[in-house]
């Protein structure tokens, strides 16, 4: 009998199911209030528009919508993405969600031992995807780029999410963006700017991307985007915008990875984008998600013990809660699960520290559920703090 565990390649040691995933499998449990996944609100999906667009795509494009397509993507969608970003069609590769864009970039850009700078914390599935190439991850705060550039000086690559970062919810200032653009240009460091949430802004004005500030496709910045958060993640349609030489390499990698992204879904995304739906749908999302964010911030204020802090995102879907050092996010999350509230520990998003953090998603629950969920969570954190202080007292009285 073959023992499959004996067959696995060495690289699989760098693959692991992350803890977050273990929590997320409870998301569908009856009565669960989920602050867990990064799920858009399902009740806001434009179902009728999808019905109409499916019908239209099969009618307009006919069998082309079901046939094999070019690895680069269907020309109509590449053109649409290119126009919206002011680049040429040759600079656009359509990918199977932004996750595939990141995965292909890892395959094409990372050698073992390369120094890869990331914010700390950063997007968890970026870390898992790139870890198989065995880079040396280093934590860099984009704001500090004007000061000590030590870590960045060594970095071949800098990955960042400029708007409403996952899991922090933070947004880079214009000044920081300019500094990153300038540093990358001077040092010839490649920057991957991943912007899944940029359109979901609930206050203040949008800022220019680092990609624009650094000269678009002529510069050192690669731009990654997706329809997942503004249309529907089930489509799995994203894109990379980059210098033509890089696109060419990514196309080779993608050809091996999955030949091309679903033609049908590319035409669907294109049909919906061209119909002008986004100009009415995105503001609707912003209005509702903005309400949910407000509900969560208010509930945190009302129910969280004074020792706990959290970020105040201007958009996106997440915020990060930071508890006193002694409290474990994973333990709080496990306890919360017992009381039908799903949160994920922030630990795995960090390359240093983060044990005492929780990531909270606010896009997937109605405001009243958010309030109840945070009330429960506040009580649980309170209990942990009490336990802790009792322990401290009894310890000091010994």
């Amino acid at each position: 009998m073959i023992d499959w565990n004996e067959q696995f390649a060495a690289a699989t040691q760098n693959m692991r199911r992350n803890t977050v995933r273990e929590f997320l499998k409870y998301a569908g449990r009856a009565g669960m209030i989920s602050f867990g996944g990064g799920l858009p609100a399902a009740e806001l999906f434009p179902m009728d528009e999808f019905q109409n667009a499916s019908e239209a795509v099969l009618r307009k494009y006919g069998s082309r919508a079901l046939q094999y397509g070019e690895t680069e993507g269907v020309p109509e969608l590449r053109e649409n993405v290119a126009q919206r970003h002011g680049v040429g069609i040759e600079n656009v590769l359509i990918t199977s969600g932004a996750q595939q864009a990141l995965d292909l970039l890892g395959r094409v850009l990372i050698d073992r031992g390369d120094v890869v700078a990331v914010e700390n914390p950063t997007y968890l599935a970026l870390l898992s995807s790139w870890r198989v190439h065995e880079p040396e991850f280093t934590a860099v705060e984009p704001e500090d780029i004007g000061g000590d550039k030590g870590a960045l000086k060594r970095a071949e690559l800098f990955y960042l999410v400029p708007n409403f970062q996952n899991p922090k919810g933070t947004t880079l200032t214009l000044e920081t963006r300019e500094k990153v653009a300038e540093f990358a240009s001077t040092e010839e460091m490649a920057v991957i700017e991943d912007d899944p949430y940029g359109a979901l802004r609930y206050e203040r004005e949008a800022l220019p991307s680092i990609f624009e500030l650094a000269g678009k496709c002529g510069g050192p910045v690669v731009s990654v985007g997706t329809f997942s958060k503004i249309l529907a993640p089930g489509l799995r349609v994203g894109w990379v915008i980059a210098n033509k030489a890089l696109i060419e390499k990514l196309v080779q990698a993608k050809q091996s990875a999955d030949l091309h992204t679903s033609t049908l879904n590319q035409y669907l995304a294109c049909e919906l984008a061209m119909s002008g739906l986004l100009t009415t749908h995105v503001p609707k999302l912003c209005l509702e998600y903005g309400r949910r964010r407000a509900a969560m911030l208010a509930a945190l204020e009302e129910f969280m013990p004074g020792e706990v802090t959290w970020s105040r995102p201007a958009g996106g879907m997440f915020l990060l809660v930071r508890m006193p050092e002694v409290i474990s996010g994973a333990e709080v999350a496990r306890e919360a699960l017992e009381e039908n509230v799903l949160v994920v520990p922030g630990d795995d998003f960090h390359i240093v520290g983060g044990r005492n953090t929780l990531r909270l998603n606010f896009s997937n629950c109605a405001p009243d559920s958010i309030r109840r969920g945070i009330q429960t969570l506040g009580k649980i954190v309170g209990r942990f703090l009490n336990e802790e202080s009792k322990y401290r007292v009894s310890f000091s009285s010994v």
Copy 2:
């Protein structure tokens, strides 16, 4: 200015645009008779059924069809695939086409230097996908497995396409399948059985898969399949059936690669498969493709010079033409392109030899176009042979 070419990882040296791809870009040229790609006949796509299924899926599954889904695949489709193959749902992973299944298997199973046995020639995009892991490919004829097992003894992995292989069109006999199953079980060698064309059989009876013969998920064989050839490739929905330990690893790899396959397309495939469409649609495909195969075989008989041979597939979409050693398939293909006939050189499908071969697809053209295309091709090959014999004459007369 950053020079992107300087940024590429070493592994990208093993990525290349293959020659076939360079030819395929001409497939859409007006008036072109294409024997090039592996394209199903677009005019046979069940367009009305797709219209109805799209409508039904969005109505029945609602927002679930547009939301993020489990990496393993939507349970309904996994169950459907599991039932059709007599395995458990835990043995099924849904992938973004069979190409992704192969890519993930490469990531999870191949270490640099591993000996990987393949038929010669074999599926081109398998070679490109696995080449980045730097295995040592070795050519093995499955029929010879009873004799000298030298090469196979060293192999960790054996990839084969048992039915109507791409590019050869050949099918393994029951005896060969049994020998491979037994050898793999004894030697604990893993076998990847890729079967995209199995349902497209135009003569004789179907044979049991090596996967079945070797004890299904308890044995050393992994089964890879797809809806691309029996439904529509534009969906990009395929699957792997394997031992649970391997599925678990593949899930980890897939999570990094693209999170999951399009939920919408998985439900579409499921809806169409459960509607019983395949039981009426596949026989329709077989009838028409069988006609096209017959047309191509008859035309080859009629128009090809006597020195040329070809395979006679019992199903599938391809056959392989072998010309005298002195003739270059690439040169013939280039010349054919000038006369609006698209064929691909067989070279890149081989790990040894094959320079004098052409792969011909017969599923994508109507019988009368096939006859005209082969007539043109026959003339071109005839010219090459004449040139060659003149050269030989003049050379021998020197």
